[in-house]
Structures are given as structure tokens and as C-alpha cells.
């Protein structure tokens, strides 16, 4: 199961990175969201995987590590805030610049290096 879990995390990272490397803002936001899933799962797994051991005292004999859980919980909420910020920035960028390309304008092959 550990192998499966790690593969899932790896796959999410791959998909997220690929999407982030695309040229349009919305795709980048999708990629960021995907990558944050991966990061959250990764951080969570640093407490190791355990079944039926929720960290609620008195409900089981052994408990899962509560610390990574607490960290990931706030990470999820903040991740949402950041996703929201980036996507609104993308909307604003498209309104102000007229393009949803990540560079704010369509790349021109003949364009020289900006000085």
C-alpha cells in the first residue's frame, strides 16, 4: 500500500508540474491545485500511514501522528486562499492586459530581449 500511495503522490506531482508549465493562466491554477494536493498528501504521509487510528483520545489503542495532520489542515485552508488569489489575479490580468497568457502578452518569435 505504501508503494501505491507514493505512486499516487508522484503522479499528482507530475500532472501538476506539467500543467504549471503550460502557457495559460487557468491551466497554471489547475496545476497549482493539483500540486498542492500532492504536497498535502506528502506532508500528511510523514506521519506514516495508519488505519483506524484517528488521533481522538479514547477511541483506539494507538493513534496516528496528529502533528502532520494539524499542519496539513491549515495548509489546505491557506492553499485555498492562495488558489483564490492566483485565479483572481489571472482574471484581473486578463482584463488589464487583454490576454490570459502567463506572460501577459502573446509571445512574439521575432521579439528581441526587452531592455
Amino acid at each position: 500500500m505504501e508503494l501505491l500511495y507514493a505512486s499516487c503522490v508522484g503522479l499528482l506531482v507530475s500532472c501538476g508540474v506539467f500543467l504549471i508549465l503550460r502557457a495559460r493562466t487557468f491551466t497554471v491554477v489547475l496545476g497549482l491545485t493539483m500540486l498542492s494536493y500532492a504536497v498535502n498528501l506528502f506532508l500528511f504521509s510523514s506521519g506514516r500511514l495508519s488505519l483506524n487510528q484517528a488521533a481522538v483520545l479514547g477511541y483506539s489503542s494507538e493513534y496516528a501522528d496528529p502533528l502532520p495532520q494539524a499542519l496539513v489542515l491549515t495548509a489546505i485552508v491557506i492553499g485555498f486562499a492562495m488558489t483564490a488569489f492566483v485565479v483572481i489575479l489571472a482574471i484581473r490580468g486578463r482584463s488589464d492586459l487583454g490576454s490570459d497568457h502567463v506572460d501577459g502578452e502573446l509571445p512574439d518569435e521575432n521579439k528581441k530581449v526587452k531592455v
Binding site: M1, E2, L3, L4, A6, S7, C8, V9, G10, L11, L12, V13, C15, V17, F18, L19, I20, L21, R22, R24, F26, T27, L30, M34, Y37, A38, L41, S45, G47, R48, L49, Q53, A54, A55, V56, L57, Y63, A64, D65, P66, L67, Q69, L73, V77, I78, G79, F80, A81, T83, A84, V87, I88, A90, I91, R92, R94, S95, D100, D103, P107
Partner: protein
């Protein structure tokens, strides 16, 4: 406690004066002067103890691990400076009330002046050298604000930037020097450093440390060749120049020399560097001052010259030289401040400072003229005035030094030359302005200045005379106690007196006066000679070198930063790949010793769904809606995974966040194209697939290596103490609101900031309102389906009840403020979806910004509350109560903290979504009032 109050009162004064905008000028001035007056009275009450040889200290622990304290120290030297800073500061504040025109903002000037005063007071009283450096930088910054006070004038802006660049650069050198010094001694405490002369001077780093510290002092005190910023800083209002460029800011460098004199001085390298720098500055400044047509320019170069004189005295190898230096610090501050103020009056009343236009002012302003002439005579070193006494001492000391070996006789000669130049420019100041024929087309008809504008000058000139005539009576105590501090615990025999008999120094003075007057009468030839020299402006060199550096950096930056985000990201990922991947090759075995868990069918199915979702998101990324839906599958499976692996809190959070995120991204798609064009070349796709696959493999390997190794965690502490220390059985929640409550506070602040940022981004958004989707199909006319509307309304109370329940049980069972907040937010968002923003706005007027603010405030004050019980910030309290019919319940202060979290989460989430959602309804360009 008392010492801390002196800078603190001044800081308070800065805040007070910044708020006096609505009051009259007199009220504003009076209120501003109040705090320095109190501070001055406090200082006076401390003075007798210092005069008797005590050093008053006041220390508060700040970062004890690094040896950094908030420490104050009042010895003779600090006392002298505190008197100058507060005394001249008060006079300047009073003077500025008459100087500023009605267009200038008085509270702004006063607030900056008081901030500067705070910085200077903190600097001279610091007993910790890191703190000293902090205040040092604060003087640079506040003087930047003061010089650029007339920010609409380009020369003020440029002058301010130049001053900041030079003194700030010197400040960095000083920091390096102080850090080295602290390392040599093993402490940042000034008391200890001053007592460690032998350790410091025997150390290998002594030379480097000394040069770095001197760089700081010389840049601040405008020593040659760093002098050039001072004349350009004259773009400041004249009260500012009178304060900063006579008595305080430029004296900070001198103060530094005096402060570290007991620890650093006494070696050959000190004597050579300090005396030669001072000597060249003395001569250079005095020579250039003669040719300045601008009154303030003349005073600026004269200041440079006098600062050079003081520096030179600190560099002479006689004990009395330091006493003479301190004496001249006092004298220069009094006569130069009054001269600046007199110049301000002349400028104020005639509209110009050009000496080619200003002539014969005696007729128009005899009173001001008399005051200015006395002060200028003090500057020239005429007997009966304070400048004469310190100049005599200076001449005496130049005769006693052995600095240049057999060539030491040069120094008294050069000192006499500088004295003659000082007489010449002082004579020019007096004669050109007040006599010398009639004025030439002045912008204004000159008249005498307002009565009270002259008061500060009268006080200072009276001081010049009093010190000059009765030196023993007026100055002896403070001079002796300051010398005691500078010389490290003893005062050599000396007597300040007007008459020492006919001797060599008196002859030198005589030669200087005669030579100076001769120079002035023959100035025509000198001016012609000067005009024939190629014009040299340090400003051009400064600007040129800054331009060159900027251009060089620009070229280098352009190579790396070409404006393509994709390229940056690619580089970042490649670097991550290298750094994260490399250690894996050095590891022998990927899988650890932990017993692997078998795969069961549920897990396999979940993983398969997750993988299908992720891959589908990528495959269909051009068709954005489809891709988004696939992404939501991934999100759901992540929350299922959290459930499966014993993290119910995470699962609940992930589930609710997922809902909110997908709604948000759906909304966003309304404003963004629904499809991505095909852009990437095949090569680029292959490259990106390669990078992302490699990164995925690396992360998967690390993850696998991590989770197959046994766990050593600090969490046992949390598990053991959650119930007994935090009063809850849900350990995750107890960690959030109790053990790591401070982190959570920071996190909800981030949430609030993000929401506010979004609000700001959406204000005045130029709308691209699509009327149809990208395929040309118009949006559905029927906006709010009836079925959804009626169901959602009845769902609201239920959802609120659920969230309340989740909130309450959070401390003991999965739930808590974050999750409850998200549930509440989702319930409200459903109302927005079902009815639209307008419908909600009619029924519910909520200012989400205030909600966020109150949430954070509640959380913060819960933490502050523990101070009232003498506990550290955020200590929680809990107890159990037995209430009839309900049973035993637990009340904890962490619950109130969680209320704050709850409110912030609700406010932030709703603000984000409602702000955006509202835009879809309102096509008009109007400010979004959420």
C-alpha cells in the same frame, strides 16, 4: 525605567504631532514641544548624578540568546548629546513654526523631526552596539524623509537619495564593523567593549574592524571624500538643516569616534587615518566654502570643514585634543545652528540666498544682522566668543602632537591656513550680505523677521557669548564629564579660560584673522583663479557611477530574467529536481525497515480513481470545464484518502475546501476563455513531460523512502498532554487552537490578507463581460432555478446547525473552527448560487472585511487575555461545569480562539466568492461593495 522614557517620549511626540493637522499652528507647535520639554526636564534631573561621575544604566532583555538587549546608558558624553539634541531640537521646532509657509504641512515636518530626534536620542544613549546601529540607520531614514520634505522639488528628492545612499552605505560598513567588534570582545554590550581596549587592539581583526567603523563615521559626518552629499542635502527646509546639519545628524559620526575612542583609539593606524582625513576635510571644506554664492552652500562647506577639525582633533595623539574636540562639538552646534536659522530668516524675508543679490541687508534687518554677525564671528574664532576658545585649544594641540614625525610642524601651519580661510568665509558671510552696497533685484521687499522667529537665534547667540566670556562657569561641568567618558575614566588637567597670556596659539589666531581678512579683500583674484580651474562636481561622478552600476545590473538581469514565466518555472523545477534527486543516488536502499501494509481492494479502487482523475485533467486540459471536473474527482479522492488513513479532520476540511475551490474556479471560467489554444510545440511538450515525469519519480521515491521507515515523532508529547494540558481529546484540534495556537493565528491572518488582496484586485475591474460562451452559445437566461432556490433556503438552517455542532464538538471529536467555518461558508454560497448576489444584498447587509477583522481580533485578544493572568501569550484556560439537563460541559478559552478562527474563515471565504460572484451580475463598472 527613566532612561527608556527619554527616546520613548520623543517617539510619542512624533505620533502626537502627526495628529495635529486640524489644530492651529500655535497649538500644533505647543503640543509638539511638550514631550521634548518633559524629556529635557528628566535629563536635567539626572544631570547632577552624571556630573559626579555616575553612569546611569537601564537594561531590558530582548534576545538574550544573541546577546542583544534593549539597553540604555547615560554618561557624560551621552548627556552632552542629549542636551544638544533636545535643546536645539526645541529651538528648531519653535523656529519652524514661523519658517513654514501655509502651504507646507506642519504636522508632517514635526512628526519627521521628532522621529529623527528619537533616533538620535536612542543612538547616543545605546548601551548595546546592535541597538546603536539600529538607531544609526533610523537617523539615516528619518533624515531622508526630512531632506525630501519638499518632495515636489527634484533637487530635494535627489539630495535625499544621495544622502541616504552615502550614509546608508556607510551604515552597512558600520554594521559589519560592529559585528566584528562584538565577535572580538564576545559581547555586544558597550560597557564591556569599552573596557576591552587591549583585547581589541591585539586582535588580528583590529584593522579591518577599525576601518569599517571609521567608514560609517566618516560617511555620516561628511568627511572628505564622502562629503559631497551634505551640500546637496541643503535642499531641505532650513530648520531641518539647522538641526541635522549643524548639531545632530552630521555629529553622529563624530559621536561614534568619541564613543569608541576609549576602545579603538591610541594606535598608529587610528591616528594616521583619523587625523589625515580630518585635516584634508578641514582644508578642503574651508577652501570651497569661500567660493559658494549660496548662503546655505557656504554654511554646508563650513560645516564640512568644522567637522574635519573635530575629526582631526580626535586623531591627534595628545590627551587634551579629545577635550578640545568635545568643546568644539558644543561650540560648533551653537553657532552653526544660529547661522542656519539666520540664513532661513534672510531667505524667508528676501526670497533668495544668493550672495550676489543679497547686499546691504543691515538697513532692512539690523536686529537679525547683529545676531548673525555675532554667530559668524564665533565661526571665525573671534575673541569673547566660544569659537575662539576651542580654536585656541585646537591650535595649542596642533603644537603638541608628534604625528608626522619630523614633519609634524606642517600641521600647525596648515591649521593656521584653515583658520585664515574660516575667517575669510565668515567675513564674506557678514560683509557680502549685510553691507557691500545695495541689493540686486530681490524677489521680495526685505523686512525684519517676525519677533518670535528671532528668539531661538537670540538664545543660541547668548550661549555663544556666555561660553566665550565665562567658560569656567557655563561649560566646565559638562565638558569635564563628557571628557571623562571619552578618555575612559580620567580627565587631564586643563583650564578653559579666555586669557592664557601671549603665546604661540594666540599668535596663530592673530595670523589667521589678519590672513583671512587679507584673503577676503583680495578675493577677486582668488575667484578668477578658481573660475579658471575645470569645474568639478561630485554629484556628476556620483550620478554617473550610479547610472553605470544600474546599467550593468540591467544587462545582467535581462540575461536571466527575460519575462517568460514558463522559463522561470522550468528553471525552478530543474533546480528542485537536481537538489532533491541527487541525494537519492547516494542512498543505498530506497525501502526502509517498516513492515509494509498489504493493498486491499478499497485502497486499490481509490488509487485508481485518483490516477484516472489526474491523468484526465492533463489530457483534457485544453477543454477547461472538463479538466476542472476531472480535477474535482482528484480532490474528492484525496479527502477519501484522508478518511481512510485516520485523519477525519483533514477529510472534512478537504471536502469542504474542495467544494469551495471548484465553485470558485467555475466562476473564474466565466471571465476566462473556456478553451486553451494549442500553443506548445512538440519539442516543448516532450521537454515538459520529461521534467514533470522526473520530478514525479523523485517525489514518489522520497515519499516511499519516508513512509517505509519507522517514525520517531515529537507527537507523543501532544498525545500525552492534549487532555490534561489542553482539555480536549481531539489532539489535532488541540494542537491547532492550543499547542500551536500562535501558528494558527498567523495562518488566519494570511487568510484575511489574501481575502483583502482579492477584494482590492476586484475593485474597479474593467469587465470583459462575455454574453455567450466560446462556442457562441448564449448563457442561459433563466439564472436562478426555482427548485434549487427553494431547497437551498430550507437547507440553510440545517447547514448552520450542522456547522454549529461541528464547531462545538471540535475540541473533543473531529471538527473545529476551520471546518465549521467552511461548512457555514458553503451554506451561504449555496444561497448566492440559488438566488444571486442582489437577492442576498437586499436581505443581508454584511461587510465581510469587518467580519474578517473581528475574527482576527477575537483570536488575538484571546491570546492577549492570558497576559492579564500573568501567563505567556496564548496560555489557555479550561474547566468543566455541570449544568442541569445538559450535563457536564467543558469551557475553554481555546474555544473563544476557535470562534475567531471560525469567523475569519467564514468572512474570508465568503468575501472571496461573493466578490467574484457579484461581478457576474453587475456588468456596470462600479466599485464592488462587499
Amino acid at each position: 525605567m527613566t532612561l527608556l522614557w527619554i527616546p520613548l517620549l520623543s517617539l510619542l511626540g512624533s505620533i502626537i504631532s502627526s495628529m495635529t493637522g486640524k489644530l492651529s499652528r500655535n497649538q500644533s507647535t505647543g503640543l509638539t514641544m511638550l514631550m521634548p520639554i518633559i524629556a529635557l526636564l528628566m535629563t536635567i534631573s539626572l544631570a547632577p548624578a552624571v556630573f559626579s561621575g555616575d553612569v546611569i544604566r537601564d537594561t531590558f532583555s530582548w534576545i538574550p540568546l544573541l546577546g542583544i538587549d534593549i539597553a540604555f546608558r547615560l554618561d557624560g558624553l551621552a548627556l552632552l548629546f542629549v542636551f544638544m539634541i533636545l535643546g536645539i531640537g526645541l529651538l528648531v521646532i519653535f523656529y519652524a513654526r514661523y519658517y513654514l509657509s501655509s502651504n507646507d504641512s506642519m504636522p508632517k515636518l514635526y512628526a519627521y523631526l521628532m522621529l529623527f530626534m528619537t533616533a538620535m536620542l536612542g543612538l547616543v544613549m545605546s548601551n548595546n552596539i546592535i541597538q546603536l546601529w539600529f538607531f544609526w540607520e533610523l537617523t539615516s531614514i528619518s533624515s531622508f524623509l526630512l531632506i525630501s520634505y519638499w518632495w515636489h522639488k527634484p533637487e530635494a528628492r535627489k539630495g535625499a537619495i544621495m544622502a541616504l545612499a552615502v550614509t546608508g552605505g556607510g551604515g552597512l560598513a558600520l554594521l559589519a564593523g560592529l559585528l566584528l567588534l562584538g565577535n572580538i570582545v564576545g559581547s555586544y554590550n558597550l560597557d564591556i567593549i569599552l573596557a576591552s581596549k587591549d583585547i581589541i587592539q591585539a586582535h588580528d581583526w583590529y584593522e579591518v574592524t577599525l576601518i569599517l567603523i571609521l567608514l560609517g563615521a566618516f560617511t555620516k559626518s561628511a568627511q572628505f571624500p564622502f562629503h559631497f552629499w551634505l551640500p546637496h542635502a541643503m535642499a531641505a527646509p532650513t530648520p531641518v538643516s539647522a538641526y541635522l546639519h549643524s548639531a545632530t545628524m552630521v555629529k553622529a559620526g563624530i559621536f561614534l569616534l568619541a564613543r569608541f575612542y576609549p576602545a579603538l583609539a591610541g594606535t598608529d593606524i587610528w591616528f594616521i587615518i583619523v587625523s589625515l582625513t580630518g585635516l584634508s576635510t578641514l582644508l578642503f571644506g574651508a577652501y570651497v566654502a569661500l567660493f559658494k554664492h549660496d548662503l546655505k552652500g557656504l554654511l554646508a562647506y563650513s560645516t564640512i570643514s568644522h567637522l574635519g577639525l573635530i575629526t582631526l582633533l580626535f586623531g591627534l595623539d595628545t590627551k587634551l585634543a579629545a577635550v578640545a574636540a568635545i568643546f568644539h562639538i558644543i561650540n560648533h552646534a551653537t553657532f552653526k545652528a544660529s547661522l542656519f536659522m539666520a540664513t532661513g530668516i534672510i531667505d524667508h524675508e528676501t526670497g533668495t540666498r544668493d550672495m550676489r543679490k543679497l547686499n546691504g541687508m543691515w538697513k532692512f534687518m539690523p536686529y537679525t544682522a547683529t545676531l548673525a554677525m555675532v554667530a559668524a564671528a564665533a565661526m571665525a574664532g573671534v575673541p569673547l566668543l566660544n569659537g575662539f576658545l576651542s580654536k585656541e585649544m585646537f591650535f595649542t594641540e596642533t603644537l603638541h602632537q608628534q604625528l608626522l614625525g619630523s614633519m609634524s610642524w606642517l600641521i600647525p601651519i596648515l591649521a593656521t591656513v584653515a583658520g585664515a580661510l574660516a575667517v575669510a568665509y565668515s567675513a564674506r558671510f557678514i560683509h557680502d550680505v549685510f553691507f557691500n552696497g545695495e541689493p540686486v533685484d530681490l524677489p521680495k521687499q526685505p523686512s525684519e523677521a517676525p519677533r518670535y522667529m528671532r528668539v531661538p537665534i537670540e538664545i543660541l547667540v547668548a550661549l555663544c557669548l556666555a561660553v566665550g566670556i565665562f567658560p569656567g562657569l557655563v561649560i566646565d561641568d559638562i565638558l569635564r564629564s563628557a571628557s571623562f567618558a571619552v578618555l575612559g575614566g580620567y580627565v587631564p588637567e586643563f583650564e578653559v579660560a579666555l586669557w592664557h597670556g601671549f603665546n604661540l596659539p594666540l599668535l596663530m589666531s592673530g595670523i589667521a584673522v589678519a590672513g583671512g581678512l587679507l584673503l577676503y579683500t583680495q578675493r577677486r583674484y582668488l575667484f578668477q583663479f578658481q573660475a579658471s580651474l575645470p569645474a568639478m562636481d561630485a554629484k556628476k561622478i556620483f550620478d554617473g557611477s550610479i547610472d553605470a552600476i544600474t546599467k550593468w545590473c540591467q544587462v545582467k538581469v535581462n540575461v536571466i530574467e527575460n519575462g517568460s514565466l514558463q522559463r522561470y518555472l522550468m528553471l525552478i523545477f530543474v533546480v528542485v529536481l537536481l537538489f532533491a534527486g541527487w541525494p537519492l543516488f547516494e542512498m543505498n536502499q530506497l525501502s526502509g525497515q517498516k513492515q509494509l501494509t498489504p493493498i486491499d481492494v478499497h485502497n486499490a479502487m481509490g488509487a485508481a480513481l485518483l490516477m484516472v482523475g489526474a491523468i484526465s485533467t492533463v489530457i483534457w486540459y485544453r477543454s477547461r470545464v472538463v479538466s476542472l471536473l476531472m480535477l474535482s474527482v482528484v480532490g474528492l479522492m484525496v479527502s477519501v484518502a484522508f478518511t481512510r488513513f485516520s485523519a477525519p479532520d483533514l477529510a472534512l476540511t478537504q471536502l469542504t475546501v474542495e467544494v469551495v475551490t471548484i465553485i470558485l474556479l467555475m466562476l473564474a471560467l466565466f471571465f476566462l476563455p473556456q478553451h486553451s489554444p494549442k500553443e506548445s510545440s512538440s519539442v516543448r511538450v516532450v521537454r515538459d513531460v520529461g521534467i514533470s515525469a522526473a520530478l514525479g519519480i523523485v517525489v514518489a521515491s522520497i515519499c516511499y523512502a519516508l513512509i517505509t521507515r519507522p517514525l520517531e515523532s515529537i507527537s507523543d508529547f501532544f498525545l500525552a498532554n492534549a487532555k490534561t494540558g489542553g482539555g480536549g481529546t481531539n489532539v489535532v484540534n488541540v494542537i491547532l487552537v492550543d499547542f500551536r495556537g500562535f501558528d494558527t493565528l498567523g495562518e488566519i491572518c494570511v487568510l484575511g490578507i489574501a481575502a483583502l488582496g482579492i477584494y482590492k484586485l476586484l475593485v474597479n475591474l474593467p469587465l470583459l463581460m462575455p454574453t455567450s460562451d466560446s462556442d457562441g452559445r448564449p448563457w442561459a437566461k433563466e439564472r436562478y432555478p426555482l427548485l434549487l432556490a427553494s431547497i437551498s433556503q430550507s437547507l440553510l438552517p440545517l447547514a448552520l446547525m450542522v456547522s454549529f455542532y461541528i464547531f462545538l464538538r471540535g475540541h473533543n471529536l473531529p471538527g473545529g473552527g476551520f471546518i465549521a467555518g467552511l461548512v457555514t461558508a458553503v451554506a451561504f454560497i449555496l444561497q448566492y448560487i440559488a438566488h444571486g448576489s442582489n437577492w442576498i444584498a437586499e436581505r443581508l447587509t454584511i461587510n465581510y472585511r469587518k467580519i474578517i477583522a473581528s475574527g482576527i481580533a477575537i483570536a488575538l485578544f484571546t491570546g492577549v487575555g492570558s497576559w492579564f493572568f500573568d501567563r505567556p501569550f496564548m496560555t489557555t484556560w479550561f474547566d468543566y461545569f455541570d449544568i442541569p439537563f445538559i450535563g457536564e460541559i467543558e469551557l475553554a478559552s481555546a474555544l473563544i480562539f476557535d470562534v475567531g478562527v471560525y469567523i475569519t474563515v467564514v468572512g474570508a471565504t465568503l468575501m472571496i466568492l461573493a466578490s467574484l460572484g457579484r461581478l457576474t451580475v453587475n456588468a456596470q463598472k462600479e466599485e464592488v461593495n462587499v
